[in-house]
Structures are given as C-alpha cells and as structure tokens.
Symmetry: C2
Amino acid sequence: MTNETNIPCGGGASARGDSSGCGVAGAEATGCDPVALDAELSALGKAARKAARRLGVLSGAVRNGALAAMAEALRRNTADICAANARDLAHGRSRGLSAPLLERLALTSARVESMARGLEDIAALRDPLGEVTGMWTTREGLRIGRLRVPLGVVGIIYESRPNVTADAAGLCIKSGNAVLLRGGREALATNTLLADLLARAAEAAGVPEGSVQMVASPHREATTRLMSLDALDVLIPRGGKSLKAAVRAFATVPILMTGMGNCHIYVDAGADIDRAVAVADNAKTSRPAVCNAAETLLVHADIAPDFLPRCLAVLAAKGVEIRGDARTRALFPAALPASEADWDTEYLDLILAVRVVDSLDEALDHIARHGTGHSEAICTESYGAAERFLREVDAAAVYVNASTRFTDGGVYGFGAEMGISTQKLHARGPLGVEQLTSTKFIAYGTGQIRTS
Amino acid sequence: MTNETNIPCGGGASARGDSSGCGVAGAEATGCDPVALDAELSALGKAARKAARRLGVLSGAVRNGALAAMAEALRRNTADICAANARDLAHGRSRGLSAPLLERLALTSARVESMARGLEDIAALRDPLGEVTGMWTTREGLRIGRLRVPLGVVGIIYESRPNVTADAAGLCIKSGNAVLLRGGREALATNTLLADLLARAAEAAGVPEGSVQMVASPHREATTRLMSLDALDVLIPRGGKSLKAAVRAFATVPILMTGMGNCHIYVDAGADIDRAVAVADNAKTSRPAVCNAAETLLVHADIAPDFLPRCLAVLAAKGVEIRGDARTRALFPAALPASEADWDTEYLDLILAVRVVDSLDEALDHIARHGTGHSEAICTESYGAAERFLREVDAAAVYVNASTRFTDGGVYGFGAEMGISTQKLHARGPLGVEQLTSTKFIAYGTGQIRTS
C-alpha cells in the first residue's frame, strides 16, 4: 500500500504556515502554479461544504437511489471506462511501472461490474444516519439524546486501484458526507472519468452538486495542499510510510490514518501445531501485499524445535523468503539472517521475519516495540496466555487461534471500507459507513434554564 | 477561557519540521535551552508510555483506590497547597494579572476540599474499561467483540484554574490513561505541588510511576513542543483562539479541540415570550465567562417588536451591553451598533450581539456561517421549526426551548469533564471518562483461516 505517486514536493517551501502551498521551489520543479492550485482546492472545498449541508439532511431513500444510479452509470459506461483505463495503462507502461502496479491499475468489464455491485451492496446497508444512540431525561426535565449525523466533508488520498474511487464515493454518499477524492496520478484518466460518471449520476438522482469531486490537478503538491484544506472535517490517507510522513509534516486537518500493518503471529508453547502452521501460512501467503498480512513470526522456544522446521518448510515451498534470528537459523538452516531492521519492516511481499522468544512476555514486548497497532495473533491452547494476549496487545484487532487476514470491513460485516484505521482516536479497525459519522446532542425542553 | 500564558513563542524558528523546537530566536527571547527542553519532554513522554502499558491493565479497584488516595493527599496537604497558591497569587499581583484571573487562580481550603470530592466523584463513576460493546460470530465461527480500552497517553494544556490539575489527573487515572499536564505559568507553584502530591499518592496506591506527570518547564516553548510529542495518543487543548491557532500551526499529534463557543439563541416567530426571555437571560447572564454562554441573539422579525424591548430591558438592567443591527436599534434605541465582527466574537463577557432575521432559514444560515459548533438553541412553539433546527444546525449540542448553559459533563450525567469538544472526530460535546477511551477488536478462534 505504498503511495509513491503522491509524495509531497518536500522542502522548506511547503512548510506549514506558508500559505502559498507548494512554494516557489516546488513550482519550478514541477510546473505547479501555487496560486492556481490554491484557487482550485479552495473552490472544491467550498463546493463540498455547500453540498454537505444539504446532503446531510437528505432521506436515506434519496441517498440509496443515488447509489443505484451510480452503479448503473458504471455499467452503462463500461466500454468508456476500460478505454480510459487503457490510456492509463499505456502511459504507465511507458513510464516503466512495475507489473504488480499495472495489475492493480487494470480494469476489465468484470472489475467494473464488481465496482457497480459494490455500490449496490453499500446501498443495502442499514442507514447509519438518524439513529439516536441514547436518550435520557435530566432532573430539570430536559430530554437529551445523541443523534448520529454525517462528519461533513471527507477527503481521501489513495493509490492506484481505481475501485477505491467508487467505494469511497459510495461510502460517503451512504453516510451523508461530501467527498474529495485524490487518487494516484497513474490512474488519472480512469479516476477522472469514474468521478465524473459517479458525480453526474448522483446529481441526477437528487444529491447536491459538489457531493462527489475529484482533486484532478496533476501536481503532487495538490496532495499536500489537501492536507491543510480547512473545508475538510477529516482526511483519510490510505498508503504507506511516505504518505504517513507527509501527513505528519503537512496535515492541519483531522486525520484518520490507515493501512500500516506490521502484523505478528505468536506461536505459544503448547500450541496446536497443525492449526498454528495453517494460521501462519494463511496470514503470510494468502495475500502478502495487503496490510493485514503477517510480517513477523514469533515462536516460543519450547515449541520452536517441533514447529519451526515444519512451518517454515511449508512457507519456503510457497516461495517465502525466511529471515530468522540465530535460534531460528539453527532450526531451519535455509533461513537468511534477520537484521534489527527486519523487525520493523512491513514487507508486503513473500518475506517473513522469524524470531524465537523465551516467554509470552518477550513476545508481548516485541510486539509493543515493533508493531504498528494493526492486527496481531496468538496461537495457543493456554487460557491464561490467550486472555493476556487479548488484553495486553495494543492493536486494532487481536486474534486467538485465527489469521490476522480477518481484519476487513467485509469480513466483519460492515460492508465496504475506506481502509483499516490504526489510530485510537475516533475509529479503530475497518472504516465502514458508521465510522464516517459523528453524533450531536439534541435536547427537547419546555423552557429549562440552568440554576446550578 | 483564554490561555494567554500558553501562547507559543511564534516565528519561523518554531515552524514544523524544525527539530530544535523553540529555535534560536525563541531561546534568546526567553532563555529557553531547546536541547534541554527536548530532553525533558522526551523523558516525560517515555515515562508516560511505559506507565500507560501497565496502567491500562490495572483493575478498576486499584484505579479507584488511587483516586481515593489522591483525594486524601489533597485534604492532608491543604495548608501547603494554599501556601503554594499564595506564592502564585503574589507573583500574579506583581505581574499585574487581572482581578478575574486572580480569582480563578485562587484556592481556599473549601476549594481544595471540592477538588478532593471531585476525585471521589470520579472514583464513583462506572468503570469505562473492559466493557465489550458488541460481540458476534462470523460465518467462519470466529467470535469477534469490541473491547473498551484506554487511549494510552493523554496530554492536556489548560489555563489558570488549578482544579483542572486534579480533575484531569483523576479522569485519566479512572480511564487508565497516563497524563501529561501543562497548566498556565501563573499557577506554576500550585500546579507543581498538586501534581507531585497526586502522583505520589497514586503511586503509593499501586499506579505505575509516570502515570501523572507535569510539564514543569517555565518556558512557553514547552507548550508548543508538547503539541508534537510522539508519545501522546491525544492532546486536549483547553483554551481560546490563540491556543487554537497555535495548535493549528504546531500540532502533529491527534487533537481533541475544546472550548470555543460562539453560541446563539434564536427566538422564532410565535415563541412563548416569557420562556424565551428566561432562556436568553440565563444563557447570557448566568455565567458569561464560560463557553456555553450565549453571545448572539437572533430574533424573527414577526416577534421582534413584542420580544426585543422586553428581553433587552431585562438584560440591560443586569449590565449587559447590547450591540444590535439596525432593526434591533430601531426597537431598542439604547443598543450600540453591531459591526460584522460582532457576529464572530466570543465575548465571554456581559455583551450580547442582537440581529433581527426574516425567517428560520436566515437564522440557520447565520448560525452555519458564524457558529463554532458548540451549543445552539431555538425558542419556538412550532413543531416543524423545532425539528428543522435540531436536524440542520451543525453543533455539539442543539436545544429546543432550553438554555445553552446545559452543555456540561456534570449536567449530562457524565461526571467531571476534560472540556467540551467542538470537533466531530472521536468525541463531540462534554469529554468525560468514556471519551478518554478507545476500543479494540478481540477475536476468539479455533484455528480459522481466511479463504475468501
């Protein structure tokens, strides 16, 4: 989940507080006109805010109708979408994009159909808005409740997969939010067409103009400028380390950070070895490029002689490169030596770091030190170890005897997701429609005044 | 709720990305040693993180025992606390602090007793930790639930009132969070002693060392450096515009913004005039210096001739300065003319801006444009107007026929509060112990792997 194409221009010229945004140096380097860029983003933000005020009070029926119309628009224009995508692919090949990146970028009519069905699935979800999550009466007779409302304007920065354009637009419309989409430059033609089709279909179905907009500027600086656009109630950056660093440097709006997953499987002494092998295998190899895949295997010393040779043979046979500490390499000589840096690396590839530990405490310490708070699993038959692991590991999702790969909005029953939040504020784990809402207190009185 | 004493040193030297923190210019101006300051904050952060890991798994009984011990420590040391406070007051007088500021700073034995009782009240609240807010079983047989856990390390920046030191420490211990306290410089002696007493009492009761710490540096730069201290899971700035601006410029950690309240009372056509006068009077005059006090009165043109002269006479008799638009001044000639800036001013004083509007829509537009999303009230006898106001006003708390002054953790039944959040992410409204928590997903499996 790297986001190489969206890294900021960098340099002091873009430092916070410089209202010109991308600055002179950046402008020279990339041909970016900071004044025009500011004007573009400011206009998008203004339109989004205006749309959000009306969108937030539309009925669920209108929002669902818009989702159906958006799905239909994608289906009806499949040929055009694939043609735009072919232009992006040709451009990507000429720029030397890697095969996996091109594969993620590529759309087929089946993939367009799957995007359309995704929108219909979102329409079928329960309406998150309007729910009153609690209502009580104060001693003064004032009746107070908590009403679920949209966040307002949501920004999302994402990478090459164009399906995110439809998913993000769909989740935001469902939850009554206006959205500003900022996809990767390599998918510009595809995303521009998709956003246009989705916005026009939504508007025709009664959703206000400005509800779905794309930040179309080809300049990288637009991404960093988006991070300080006051109109945003929240920005969701979906990406890797470089995006996280840019957010840290440039963001002044509230952030929901997603996607960094340095996930561990810890195999405890006395674990069921067959199960543990299956869990480790699934967590590493079923889809190595995603954030809930495991990157490090920790094994208790008591079970390592029985478990490690078997487990690592299975993984090696599937092409996994093993990087082990000294004790691992003594048990599995084919392993390469692991360095300190391996414990902190999110490979997103068929590589696994392996370490033998002497206790559950040592495993917990390792995870506390190196984990990114995404998904962590223990394989154990010990009640006490299971409960300690669940309680003490500080992560969005903690598993006993199950693969870390389960951390997913779809699997959890939330429907599609905007990503997996690894922060503790607001929402942790899969970001579904409910996580795109806030609440407000509403109070019904009969003239109450405060006397205390 | 201004925070004049905590404004940053400002200037380019402190811009984000400058790792030296307060920078050379700031250092010259205030005698601040940036290296020493960084070392101090980094040590506090490290100790807090270490404490948080252990604090988060302590039983509720231990945390409540610590709160009782903290209360007792305050009672036992009342004389010393008042003596330290006398030093702050003397210093404040010599610096020419205003009378209201000195009044907020002053402690008496009764106020110390009230702080101690506050801690006992927090101990009596339901334990927010350990609650599982939902648990379900996936089709693979994996049982997943959402466990309520602490945020981790909480930072708070606040102003002269020393009771916040005890409240914040108490709320954080109750919710299993380590806390870094940054009070105003004018209360340094008082807060230093309070934090020391609270920390030592908590530790003696089994809470880990480092759970309650104060950022004691006398330099303003410590406040801005705190805004980018990685160890913080959240920073809660309690203050006014200058603090909000500093947060915008310097914060890189997640923020819960509190306290800005440009609150409105809208009196609709056909409102019950007696009730509306009582509500407007209470919202403006019962405690004008707090954030839930009303600052602007909007009145429908149809009711203005009956309502305004009566209401404004009541307020003027209580010493409220009225600043009205032309139509208000025509009905109440004693009013001063309001300028555009008045609609955006949080007076926190006995001043009220008044405007006559032609419709509910015009009132909603005014609030959308000038409100800070804190507390808003309508006085009306119209069902439709009440429901539209509740639905369409975007604020933490929206009232029908009741005073905005009700927005308060104690009144809402949440116990003490860290402040009133005016942002939509994570928590909106009073920040009680539950708002100082996060959740994590916990999953009980029997070897499940993901196959889809």
